[in-house]
């Protein structure tokens, strides 16, 4: 008798997504691509919350995901406004060229 998919597989998938996002944040230099990688990492965390909530038979995991989505939407609005401003100021969103705080 084949059982359903174990929770560990969902956790492993979310860990893999988080890792791919983190590698992207480290290696890519385009600020917008780095931003997209951060969204991917947030999605990996969301998957963990939902899988754990389902395993425990609780709706709280989904509430957490709801709030993470809210914060991600606000972050997208602010972050992309900052990128547009940065592009007007410097003509580029390459992270290697942004070192104003370096002194």
């Amino acid at each position: 008798m084949l059982h359903g998919v174990p929770t560990s597989f969902y956790f492993a998938l979310s860990g893999a997504l988080f890792t791919i996002g983190a590698i992207g944040v480290i290696t890519r230099r385009n600020a917008i691509v780095v931003f997209m990688c951060i969204e991917l990492m947030l999605n990996g965390v969301n998957l963990t919350f939902i899988a754990a909530g389902n395993m425990l038979g609780s709706v709280d995991g989904m509430i957490f995901v709801f709030f993470i989505m809210t914060v991600a939407a606000a972050e997208a609005a602010i972050g992309l406004a900052i990128f547009v401003l940065l592009f007007r100021l410097r003509g580029s969103v390459n992270l290697d060229e942004i070192h104003l705080l370096k002194g």
Partner: protein, 185 residues
Amino acid sequence: MIDMAFVSPVFQWVVFVCAAVLALLGAIMMVTRRNPIHSALWLIVAFFSLAVIYLTLNAQFIAVAQVIVYAGAIMMLIIFVIMLIHLETGSVYRTRLSGPKAVGAVITIVLFLEIAAAVFTLRSGMGSAVAAGASGTAADLGAALYGKYLFPFEIASVLLLVGIVGAVILARREKERRVDGRPRP
């Protein structure tokens, strides 16, 4: 609404494997594509397959919100900004894989191995993921959101308001100011 606990396990496995492979493919292609527009489109693929995975976990409301908020609103914003600042026309920043970056990537893979080791030694994790009775319909979520979590919900709405105001102020043109820095009367 179909309760996934009563769906055939074979079907659960098929849906999970297909969606997981598609999500990983979308994520890997998103990181490796050189053109930001291609990255954004692959990320939408990953978001859609994650919505399918949420459906297999009985989280119907979150699956719909994933498509609307992430694949719809946030990705629309990102693609809009990519086109606004002309990143799609080949002014693509070349990624130099220097030593520190390679080391960072390797350390991140070690982090993944740690997560995987922790997950697969978790004894309660080997049971079937879909518990009978757990349900994520809009009715269940709404009851929790407007009952137990009413105050965090209000805080979230204030956060969104602050986000909107901040974005408008940030993106305002500086031409409205005079040379001496004071706003025009």
